[in-house]
C-alpha cells in the first residue's frame, strides 16, 4: 500500500534556494563581483545536494512510500480550495537529480562560455529562473502548479532563445517557440478542464482515485480526450510531430541554453508529464501517443542526416530521441521512457556542451563546412564527444543501449511490430548521422585554415562538465537504476486494481516475471548500433564526401533537406490564415459593425461638419443604418418646412382631417 510520508523539511528548499538566488541575481547582480554568477551556481549546487539527499531519503522508504505535503493556496466560496503541494516519489527523485546535475554543470559551463557578454548578469538571472520553474514543475503534486511551472518554463525558454535579440532572427525564433508551445499548452488546459469537471480536483493523486472511482463513468471517449489533451501539452513542449518546428530554430539561443533547456530538462517535461499521468491514458490514447512518438523519432532522424549546422543535427537528434521516449510511454513502459529520459539527458547535454566548446573555440562558427580535424586540437572535447556519441548510438555497454532497448523490448512485448522495426531503423540512423557529425567535425583535414589555427582546447571550467557528464554513460552506473527508481509505481500503488499500471511499472528483473529476450531481439539490439557506426566510417573514410553529399536514397534525401516542408506549410498555411482572418475581422469591425450598429454617421452628422477623416465619412455614410434613419426623418421634416404658409395650413388641416377619419372609423 502506498503511504504518504511527511515531506522532509529541506525539500522545499530545493526550490526556494535557486529562487532566492534568482532574486539576488536580479537585484544585486550587476554590483556583485563576477556579476553574481557564483550566487546562481552556488544555489543550484546546494539544490543539487538537497536533491540527492531527498533521493536517498526516498530510497530508504519501503517500496510504495513517497513524501508529500501541501499548503492551501486560496479558497473560493462554496468550499472549493486550491492547494499547492510537493511530492517526492520515484519519478520526482530521478528527475530532480537529473535536472539539478545538468543545471549545475551548465551554469558552471556558462560562466566561461558567456564571459564578456554585455548582459552577462541578465543571462544568469534567466538561467536561475528557469531552474526554479523546472523544479516547480517537477515537484508539483497538482496539475495547477504543474501548469504554472509548465508556462514559466516556456517563458524562460522564450527569454533565453531570444537572448541576443538585437538580431531579429533570434527574436523571431523565440516568438515561434513560445507560440508553438502555447498551442500545446491550450491542449493541456483543455485536458485539465475536463479532468477538473469530472473529478472536481486538480491534485494528481485524487484525480487517479476519482477516475478509478468511476468519475468518468461510461464516457471512455471523454477520458481519452482528457488524456490526449494533456499529451498535446507534451507534444508542444517536447517538440513532437507536428509541433516540433520550434526546436531547431531554438538553437539560435546560446549553446548552454540549448544544452540545458533544449536537450535535457525542459523538453523532457513532456515525457515526465506523460509518465506521471500514465494511469489516465486509455488504450486508444496510448495508441495515439505511441504513433506520435514513432513518427517523430523517424522524422527527426531523417532530417538530422542532412543538416549542415552542428547544433541543428543535435536538435533533430533530440527530437528523435524524445520521440523514442514518447514511444516508450505509448507502448506501455513509462519506466523505460523515464529511464531513457535520464540517460539521454546526460549524454545529450554532454554532446551539446561539447559542440558549445567547439563553437567557442571556432569563434562562434556553427557550420560544419568550417570544421574538420579538430581531434588534435581539442582532445578532451573530442573524446567526451565520442563517448557520448557511442551512448546515443546505443552501442552495447552504454547507458543509451540499456534504456533504448528497454523501450524496444516493451514495444516487442506489446506486439507493435511496425513500431519495433521503426525503432531499430531510427537506432541505425542515429548511429549513422552521429558518426557523420563526429567525422566532419573532428576527423579529416581542417577545411577552414584560418579558424583552425585559432582553435584551442576550452578552459577547464568548460571541460570539467564534459568529463563528468561523459562519466555517466557507462552501463555500470545505471545497472539498478530502473527497478530502483521506477520499480514500484509508488505513486500509484494506492490503486492496486490499476492492472495495466501495475504491470507497466514493474521493470524487468525487479522481482517481476522475467521478460524473455527472444534471440532475434538480442541480435538486433547488439548489431544495429555497430552497423550504423561502420556505414558512417566507411562512407567518410575516403574523404570524398562532405556535409553536402547525398547520404540518403532519392526521395528521403529531398524530404530531409527540406525538413519535410513543415516550415513552409506553417508559414503559408497556419500563420498566413491567421493573419488573413485577423485582417478580415478588423475590416468587419471598422466598417460593418462600427457602421451598421452604431451612429458613427449620425455622430458626424451631429458635429455638422465632416470633421471625421474622409474614410470614416465615406464608409459610414454608405453602410450605416441608424444614422440614415435619424437623417432621413430629419430631412423629411425639414422639407415639410417649406416656408410657405399655405403648405403649413394645408398640412396641418390635412393631418387633422386624417386623424378625424381614423377616429370615426377605426376607434
Amino acid at each position: 500500500m502506498t503511504m504518504a510520508e511527511t515531506l522532509p523539511s529541506y525539500v522545499p528548499w530545493i526550490l526556494f534556494l535557486p529562487a532566492i538566488g534568482a532574486v539576488v541575481q536580479q537585484v544585486l547582480g550587476p554590483r556583485l563581483p563576477r556579476k553574481g554568477d557564483f550566487v546562481v551556481v552556488g544555489t543550484m549546487a546546494a539544490s543539487l545536494v538537497l536533491s540527492v539527499a531527498a533521493m536517498l531519503a526516498w530510497a530508504k522508504l519501503p517500496p510504495g512510500h513517497y513524501f508529500a505535503a501541501s499548503w492551501k493556496w486560496f479558497e473560493l466560496a462554496g468550499g472549493i480550495t486550491f492547494e499547492m503541494g510537493m511530492v517526492v516519489d520515484g519519478l520526482t527523485a530521478a528527475l530532480l537529480c537529473v535536472v539539478t546535475i545538468v543545471a549545475t554543470l551548465v551554469f558552471l559551463y556558462s560562466t566561461a562560455y558567456m564571459k564578456g557578454d554585455p548582459r552577462y548578469h541578465r543571462f544568469f538571472f534567466w538561467l536561475s529562473f528557469f531552474g526554479v520553474s523546472m523544479l516547480v514543475l517537477t515537484l508539483a503534486d497538482n496539475l495547477l502548479m504543474l501548469f504554472i511551472g509548465w508556462e514559466l518554463v516556456g517563458l524562460c525558454s522564450y527569454k533565453l532563445i531570444g537572448f541576443w535579440s538585437e538580431d531579429l532572427a533570434n527574436a523571431e525564433a523565440a516568438k515561434k517557440a513560445f507560440i508553438t508551445t502555447r498551442v500545446g499548452d491550450v491542449g493541456m488546459l483543455i485536458g485539465i478542464m475536463i479532468l477538473y469537471k469530472q473529478c472536481g480536483t486538480l491534485h494528481i493523486g485524487e484525480i487517479f482515485h476519482a477516475v478509478k472511482g468511476g468519475a468518468f463513468g461510461g464516457q471512455e471517449g471523454l477520458l481519452t480526450l482528457a488524456g490526449v489533451g494533456l499529451f498535446f501539452g507534451a507534444v508542444g513542449k517536447s517538440a513532437q510531430f507536428p509541433l516540433h518546428v520550434w526546436l531547431p530554430d531554438a538553437m539560435a539561443g546560446p549553446t548552454p541554453v540549448s544544452a540545458l533547456i533544449h536537450a535535457a530538462t525542459m523538453v523532457a517535461a513532456g515525457v515526465y508529464l506523460s509518465a506521471r499521468m500514465f494511469p489516465l491514458f486509455t488504450p486508444d490514447a496510448l495508441g495515439f501517443i505511441a504513433w506520435t512518438g514513432g513518427i517523430t523519432a523517424f522524422v527527426g532522424a531523417i532530417i538530422a542526416v542532412s543538416q549542415t549546422d552542428i547544433k541543428k543535427v543535435l536538435a533533430y537528434s533530440t527530437i528523435s530521441q524524445l520521440g523514442y521516449m514518447i514511444l516508450g510511454v505509448g507502448v506501455g513502459a513509462p519506466w523505460a521512457a523515464m529511464f531513457h529520459l535520464c540517460t539521454h539527458a546526460m549524454f545529450k547535454a554532454c554532446l551539446f556542451l561539447g559542440s558549445g566548446s567547439v563553437i567557442h573555440a571556432m569563434h562562434h562558427a556553427q557550420d560544419l563546412k568550417d570544421m574538420g580535424g579538430l581531434r588534435a586540437k581539442m582532445p578532451v572535447t573530442f573524446w567526451t564527444f565520442v563517448i557520448s556519441t557511442l551512448a546515443l548510438a546505443g552501442i552495447p555497454a552504454t547507458s543509451g543501449f540499456m534504456s533504448k532497448d528497454a523501450i524496444l523490448l516493451q514495444a516487442l512485448h506489446e506486439h507493435r511490430y511496425v513500431l519495433f522495426v521503426l525503432g531499430f531503423g531510427v537506432a541505425f540512423l542515429t548511429a549513422f548521422y552521429m558518426t557523420r557529425l563526429v567525422w566532419l567535425c573532428f576527423m579529416g583535414k581542417p577545411k577552414n585554415e584560418e579558424k583552425f589555427s585559432h582553435a584551442h582546447e576550452s578552459p577547464l571550467v568548460m571541460i570539467a562538465p564534459l568529463v563528468i557528464l561523459a562519466g555517466f554513460t557507462p552501463w555500470i552506473f545505471w545497472g539498478h537504476f530502473p527497478e530502483k527508481f521506477f520499480g514500484t509505481p509508488a505513486y500509484f500503488e494506492s490503486h492496486p486494481d490499476f492492472e495495466h499500471v501495475q504491470a507497466a511499472y514493474i521493470a524487468p528483473g525487479a522481482g517481476a516475471p522475467d521478460h524473455d529476450h527472444p534471440w532475434y531481439f538480442q541480435l538486433l539490439a547488439y548489431t544495429t548500433g555497430g552497423l550504423g557506426l561502420a556505414l558512417g566510417i566507411g562512407l567518410f573514410l575516403s574523404g570524398r564526401r562532405d556535409e553536402k553529399s547525398r547520404l540518403l536514397p532519392g526521395p528521403l534525401h529531398e524530404l530531409s533537406v527540406h525538413k519535410f516542408h513543415m516550415d513552409e506549410m506553417y508559414l503559408d498555411g497556419v500563420v498566413a490564415a491567421g493573419n488573413a482572418l485577423a485582417d478580415r475581422s478588423s475590416w468587419v469591425d471598422a466598417k460593418v459593425v462600427d457602421g451598421a450598429v452604431n451612429v458613427s454617421g449620425a455622430v458626424s452628422l451631429f458635429i455638422g461638419d465632416a470633421s471625421g477623416d474622409a474614410d470614416q465619412m465615406v464608409v459610414d455614410g454608405a453602410v450605416n443604418l441608424t444614422a440614415d434613419v435619424a437623417e432621413g426623418a430629419g430631412a423629411m421634416v425639414a422639407t415639410a418646412q417649406t416656408g410657405r404658409i399655405r403648405n403649413y395650413v394645408t398640412a396641418a388641416l390635412g393631418l387633422t382631417a386624417v386623424a378625424v377619419v381614423i377616429i370615426v372609423f377605426v376607434l
Binding site: F606, A630, G634, V637, A640, I645, N647, V649, T656, I663
Partner: protein, 509 residues
C-alpha cells in the same frame, strides 16, 4: 349670480390691474417726459407687470373658487399666471436691453401686457367662450410682438405666417367649441358641483357616446396644439421664432406654451371626467390620441433640430420637442400626471429662458444667431459658458439638473400607466421618449462642441463683453436648474398641491 366686485378684485386683482395698465401706458406716453421717448411708458409698463406678479402671488386665489362660471382661481391658474407674468417681465427686460423695442416702447408694452393678460386669462378660463377670448387676446398680442422689428423683412414675414396660421387654428377650435356647446348644452368646463362637461346631455342626446363628440374634441385640440406648437400644428414655430425678436421668441416659447398647457389640462380634465361607460371609452381614445400626438411632436422636434445650424431655429425645435414631453404628462390624465406637467413646465421655464437669453446676448454682441457665433464661448465667457452648459444639459435631461427630475416624473407616469392598464403602447411610448432624449443629446451637444471643444488656437480671440446685469439675470435663471436638480422634493410638493384640482373629477386612475 351677479359677480360682486369685491370677490372679483380679491381673486383677479392682477388681471384688472393689467387691463387698466394698457390705457395708463398710452396716457403716460403722451406726457412729455424728460428722458428718452417712451421712458415713462416703459416705467408704467414694468411697474404694472411687477405689481400684477405680486398680486397674483399674495392674493389668496388658490382656493378653487369659481367666479361667474367663466374663471376659476385654483392652484393651476395661479402657477401659470405667475409663470406668464414672470416671463413677461424677463421678456420686457431683454427687449429693453437688446433694443427690440426701439420702434415704440409704449406700443411694445401695450402689446406685451395685452399678451400677458391673455395668458393669465387662458390659465384661469373655465368656460369655452372665456377660453376662446383669452387665447385670442394672447395670440393677437403675439402676432404684433412677432412683427415688431420693422427693420428686418423676416419680422413681418414671421408675423404674417403667425397671424394666418393662428387665425385658421383658432377658427377650427372655435368651430369645435361650438359643436361641443351643442352637445353639452353649456359652455362651462367644470360646474361648481364638480359635474363636468362630458357627462351632461346636450340638445342632441348623450354627449360622450357619439363619435361626433370626439371629432369636436379633436378640433378643439387643433387650436390648443397650435398654441403649444404641438404636432401637427407646429409648422409656424420655427419660422416665427427665427423671424421674431429673440425676447418675443422667449416669451412665446414659455408664456404662451404654459398658458396653452393650462388650457389643455383643464379641457382634457373636463372631457375625460365622468364614470359612465361611454365616457371612459372616449377617455381611452382621448388618451391614445394625446399619446400619439406627444410621441409625434417630440420626434419631429428632436429629429428636425439635428439639421439646424441657426441657434434660434434649433431652440424652436427644442421647444416643440419639450411640448411633446409635456403632452406625455397630459396623456396619462392622472393627478400625478398634471403635477408632473406643472413641475416640468416650471423647470422648462428656467432652462429655456436662460438658453434664449444667452442666444439673445450673443446675437446682440456678434449680430449673428447661428451656432458658429458661439465659438469658444466656454473659454471666452467662463461664467455664462457654464450657465449655458447647465441649461443645455438640463434641456437634454441629464441627472444633476432639474431637467432630469422633470423627465423622470413624466416617464414614471407613462410607465405606471403602462403597468396599470396593461397597455404596451404606453410602455413603448416611454421607451420612445427615452430614445428621443438620446437624439436630443445630438443637437444640444452641438452647442457644447462649439463652445468648449473648438480648437483653442483658431478660436476668435477676445472675451465676450457681457454687462453685469445680463450676467446676473442669466445666473438667476440657471441656478434654479441646478438647485432643483439636487433637491426637487420641495418643488414637487408645490406642484402637486397646485395641480390638485385637475382630473379629480375624472375619478382618479
Amino acid at each position: 349670480m351677479v359677480p360682486d366686485l369685491g370677490n372679483l378684485l380679491s381673486r383677479f386683482g392682477a388681471e384688472t390691474l393689467l387691463a387698466l395698465a394698457i390705457p395708463a401706458i398710452l396716457l403716460a406716453d403722451l406726457v412729455p417726459g424728460r428722458g428718452r421717448r417712451g421712458a415713462n411708458a416703459t416705467a408704467v409698463g414694468l411697474l404694472a407687470l411687477v405689481a400684477a406678479l405680486l398680486l397674483v402671488l399674495f392674493q389668496g386665489s388658490s382656493d378653487g373658487a369659481i367666479l361667474t362660471k367663466l374663471l376659476v382661481a385654483d392652484g393651476l391658474a395661479k402657477v401659470f399666471r405667475v409663470l406668464a407674468i414672470g416671463t413677461g417681465i424677463v421678456a420686457a427686460l431683454a427687449a429693453l436691453r437688446w433694443g427690440d423695442a426701439e420702434r415704440g416702447r409704449a406700443e411694445f408694452f401695450v402689446c406685451l401686457i395685452g399678451a400677458v393678460l391673455g395668458a393669465c386669462l387662458t390659465a384661469a378660463a373655465n368656460d369655452l367662450a372665456m377660453l376662446y377670448i383669452a387665447i385670442e387676446t394672447l395670440s393677437i398680442g403675439g402676432y404684433l410682438l412677432a412683427g415688431f422689428r420693422k427693420a428686418r423683412v423676416e419680422g413681418s414675414e414671421a408675423a404674417l405666417k403667425y397671424v394666418i396660421f393662428g387665425a385658421v387654428s383658432s377658427g377650427a377650435m372655435l368651430y369645435g367649441m361650438s359643436l361641443l356647446y351643442g352637445f353639452a348644452g353649456t359652455a362651462t368646463l367644470t360646474t361648481p358641483a364638480g359635474t363636468s362637461f362630458a357627462s351632461l346631455e346636450g340638445a342632441s342626446g348623450a354627449a360622450a357616446g357619439q363619435p361626433a363628440f370626439l371629432v369636436a374634441v379633436v378640433l378643439v385640440f387643433a387650436g390648443l396644439a397650435y398654441k403649444v406648437a404641438a404636432a401637427p400644428f407646429q409648422f409656424w414655430c420655427p419660422d416665427v421664432y427665427e423671424g421674431a425678436p429673440t425676447s418675443v421668441a422667449a416669451f412665446l416659447a414659455v408664456a404662451s406654451k404654459g398658458a396653452g398647457f393650462a388650457a389643455i389640462l383643464r379641457f382634457v380634465g373636463a372631457v375625460t371626467a365622468g364614470t359612465t361607460p361611454d365616457v371612459t371609452a372616449t377617455a381611452g381614445d382621448v388618451r391614445t390620441i394625446l399619446l400619439v400626438m406627444a410621441l409625434v411632436t417630440m420626434t419631429i422636434g428632436n429629429v428636425a433640430a439635428l439639421r439646424q445650424n441657426n441657434a434660434k431655429r434649433l431652440l424652436a425645435y427644442s421647444a416643440i420637442a419639450h411640448a411633446g414631453y409635456l403632452l406625455l404628462g397630459v396623456a396619462v390624465t392622472t393627478a400625478e400626471g398634471a403635477t408632473a406637467v406643472v413641475f416640468y413646465m416650471a423647470v422648462y421655464l428656467f432652462m429655456t429662458l436662460s438658453a434664449f437669453y444667452m442666444v439673445g446676448l450673443v446675437e446682440k454682441q456678434t449680430g449673428r444667431a447661428d451656432l458658429d457665433a458661439f465659438e469658444g464661448l466656454g473659454f471666452r465667457a467662463p461664467v455664462l459658458g457654464v450657465c449655458m452648459a447647465v441649461a443645455l444639459i438640463g434641456l437634454t435631461g441629464l441627472p444633476p439638473t432639474a431637467g432630469f427630475a422633470g423627465k423622470l416624473f413624466l416617464l414614471q407616469q407613462v410607465f405606471e400607466y403602462g403597468g396599470e392598464h396593461d397597455s404596451m403602447l404606453f410602455f413603448w411610448g416611454g421607451v420612445i421618449a427615452l430614445l428621443n432624449t438620446v437624439v436630443s443629446l445630438g443637437y444640444y451637444a452641438k452647442f457644447l462642441k462649439v463652445m468648449y471643444l473648438c480648437d483653442l488656437e483658431r478660436m476668435p480671440k477676445g472675451p465676450f463683453a457681457f454687462a453685469g446685469v445680463d450676467k446676473g439675470l442669466v445666473l438667476a435663471l440657471t441656478v434654479p436648474v441646478l438647485l432643483f436638480g439636487l433637491a426637487f422634493a420641495g418643488l414637487y410638493d408645490v406642484a402637486s398641491e397646485l395641480a390638485r384640482g385637475i382630473f379629480v373629477a375624472a375619478g382618479g386612475r
